[in-house]
């Protein structure tokens, strides 16, 4: 499994990716998704395996990195670390920042490694199942993915659906891939090849975040002092091992579902930790179980989210959407054939994720104090620099200035979307799945001779449609239950 990784080049890429991921995770507003999108153009100089190893190590380390800022400055470095703030910061305020970070590091590592094991065993099984899928099944699966995203993603399900439909709509810009007819190009030649993924992602994540930061300039972070990260004591292990394992399972499962991966996983992991705890009253006041529950779950979601990404080509989270784009631009088509034809490539990714989890444990344990200092870089210096990298990275992919303008447009749009409660993640997933949704729908209709009802005669497709309906009904039932 590790054989492809025994090259000095790949190990350097892994170490760089892990360090870079940690820095991205530590900086509030950045994170593995934005960082992955920013670094994607640079991966063009690498071979496919190195490129994906770089992106996955950023993903694993970035997810953990968010915990450092959550514990020390009460601001989650990534949305997935939001639940870690609830107990991490209160514990740090009691003078136990080292203990809080130690627990976050250990539980993140265990969660991450657990999810890689799930990935190794579950992804090939899912890929094998996918051999049974035809066009109608893939269409139904993509619809299921989008409805799940709307249903269990953050925010209003209807707004998520609108955002997802908008993402699919963006994918229709350009020449129709089946008939070569121009759609929404308005006579602009550059638009006939469609809108690239990178300008949209960098715009929606990096530029919109820059605009958000421009509204938060009066915000002052108070950093709690940290002497050193401490390994959890035997008592802490006794108290939390069940929570860590439970949250690892929850995180891996949530990760497999197409949604906002780690964010949802950490919230569920945290609330389940509280439910099963013997001291639920301690939650919110610096409970070590709370930190373990949230951190094990959000890191476990990383491997889980890679399962549908690699086995079906359906991203399990926003960051895996970036990784999926990385795979596509390097000519690797995820799906069952990838498992049959390029097992070395896949085992390289699995091994890289495993090593990345061990590396961030080492770097986090010995370097958390140093990484925490990165938060001292003021926004007025940091964000203009990120802008320069965003612009050059976006330009570099197809050397088109139009792409830079598209990035700025989506930056402004993303800001207003977030301001009014629309998540930008469904737009990205919709954009990624757009061609699959439309292509499989149209090809299915050719197979069915235009008869839509024939979808219902395919058992797997029908199951996905029923699951989609359940996913849509779930928020309604949940809100009714909450009202009662």
């Amino acid at each position: 499994m590790m054989a492809p990784l025994f090259s000095s080049k790949l190990l350097i890429v892994l170490i760089f990716g892990t360090l870079f991921g940690l820095i991205l995770g530590v900086l509030p507003g950045l994170g593995p998704t934005t960082g992955g999108a920013l670094i994607l153009p640079f991966t063009m100089t690498l071979d496919p395996l190195s490129a994906i190893v770089l992106l996955t190590s950023i993903y694993c380390a970035g997810t953990y990195g968010g915990a450092i800022t959550a514990v020390l400055i009460n601001t989650p470095g990534t949305p997935a670390a939001a639940a870690t703030c609830l107990d991490g910061y209160p514990l740090a305020q009691k003078g136990e920042a080292g203990r809080a970070l130690g627990m976050a590091t250990v539980s993140s590592t265990v969660g991450g490694i657990f999810s890689v094991i799930v990935l190794v065993f579950f992804a090939p099984v899912l890929a094998q199942l996918a051999y049974e899928f035809g066009q109608p099944e893939y269409f139904a699966l993509a619809i299921f993915g989008l409805t799940m995203l709307a249903s269990i993603g953050e925010g209003s399900p209807i707004k998520n659906l609108i955002a997802g439909a908008f993402g699919i709509l963006i994918s229709t810009i350009g020449k129709d891939f089946m008939t070569s007819i121009d759609r929404f190009t308005y006579g602009i030649n550059e638009l006939s090849v469609g809108i690239g993924f990178i300008p949209v992602v960098v715009g929606l994540f990096a530029i919109s975040e820059m605009l958000t930061q421009s509204t938060l300039l009066d915000q002052v972070f108070k950093r709690v002092a940290l002497k050193a990260v401490k390994l959890p004591s035997l008592d802490d292990y006794k108290k939390t091992w069940k929570t860590i394992l439970r949250s690892s399972g929850i995180g891996s499962f949530i990760g497999v579902l197409p949604a906002e991966g780690g964010t949802v996983a950490s919230l569920i992991g945290y609330s389940e930790a509280k439910r099963f705890s013997k001291e639920p009253e301690e939650f919110g006041k610096g409970s070590i179980e709370g930190i373990a529950g949230a951190e094990a779950a959000n890191n476990a979601a990383t491997g889980g989210a890679m399962v549908p990404t690699l086995a079906l080509g359906i991203p399990g989270s926003a960051t895996t959407a970036v990784i999926l784009t990385g795979l596509i631009i390097h000519g690797v088509r995820p799906g069952p054939d990838l498992f049959r034809e390029q097992p070395d490539f896949l085992y390289g990714i699995f091994g890289a994720m495993l090593i990345a989890n061990i590396l961030f444990f080492i770097f986090g344990f010995f370097g958390a104090k140093l990484f925490a200092r990165i938060t001292l870089v003021p926004n007025k210096i940091l964000w203009p620099m990120i802008f320069a990298v965003s612009v050059c990275g976006t330009y570099s992919l197809s050397q088109s200035i139009i792409d830079v303008w598209i990035m700025l447009f989506f930056g402004v749009l993303g800001f207003f979307m977030r301001r009014f409660g629309f998540s930008v993640v469904p737009v990205i997933i919709g954009l990624i799945l757009g061609e699959l949704v439309e292509g499989t729908l149209r090809q299915s209709l050719v197979i069915f001779d235009g008869n839509w009802l024939m979808f219902l005669t395919r058992p797997i497709a029908l199951t996905f449609f029923i699951l989609s309906l359940i996913a849509l009904a779930f928020p309604l039932l949940r809100s009714k239950k909450q009202k009662k």
């Binding site: 153009p41 640079f42 063009m44 100089t45 209003s156 209807i158 707004k159 659906l161 609108i162 439909a165 908008f166 699919i168 709509l169 229709t172 129709d176 089946m178 008939t179 007819i181 121009d182 759609r183 929404f184 308005y186 820059m210 605009l211 421009s214 509204t215 300039l217 003021p378 926004n379 007025k380 210096i381 964000w383 203009p384 620099m385 802008f387 320069a388 990298v389 612009v391 050059c392 330009y395 570099s396 050397q399 200035i401 830079v404 303008w405 700025l408 930056g411 402004v412 301001r419 009014f420 409660g421 439309e438 729908l441 149209r442 090809q443 299915s444 209709l445 050719v446 235009g450």
Partner: protein, 168 residues
Amino acid sequence: MNNVRNKKRANKSLPFFFKDEFKVFFVIIFVSTILLVTTFTFDKVPPILNRGIQPATFPKGLLVLIMFLTAVIYYLSFKNPWKKEKKLPKPFFLTILSFILFIIISKTLDFFLAISVLSIFVSYNWGEKRIFYLLLVGILFPLVVFIFFEMILGLRFPPGIITNLYYY
């Protein structure tokens, strides 16, 4: 006296067209309608070449879905009004202005000059007044980025008054 008047005004509920819910509803419906009209201008494929559905059908369906769901969220907002957002501060508008400046300068003068101007403009307006740091973000860092992309990634940037000095 003015304070009392302002307070009274603030307590009055806003007319519907000033509320965020309506603004969002209006913008989405307006843009979707324009796009929907555009779909009627798409070329049609002769039946013999047509596979499944016409190229305009899928985007039409999506736009109708977006409009329908937008109407639903607007309807739901009558029962549960949205949280009122804070007014946007001055640095936000200055950042937007810097984007416009960036587009104009990159189109007419130079791509890297545009990055430098934006970086200094944003950094200054976000509160950085020290010359050294302004030069760092406005000149030194873009230079490092230029060298990295040009030399390591072999990228050729668009011609301009500064970039040409390097290329010619």
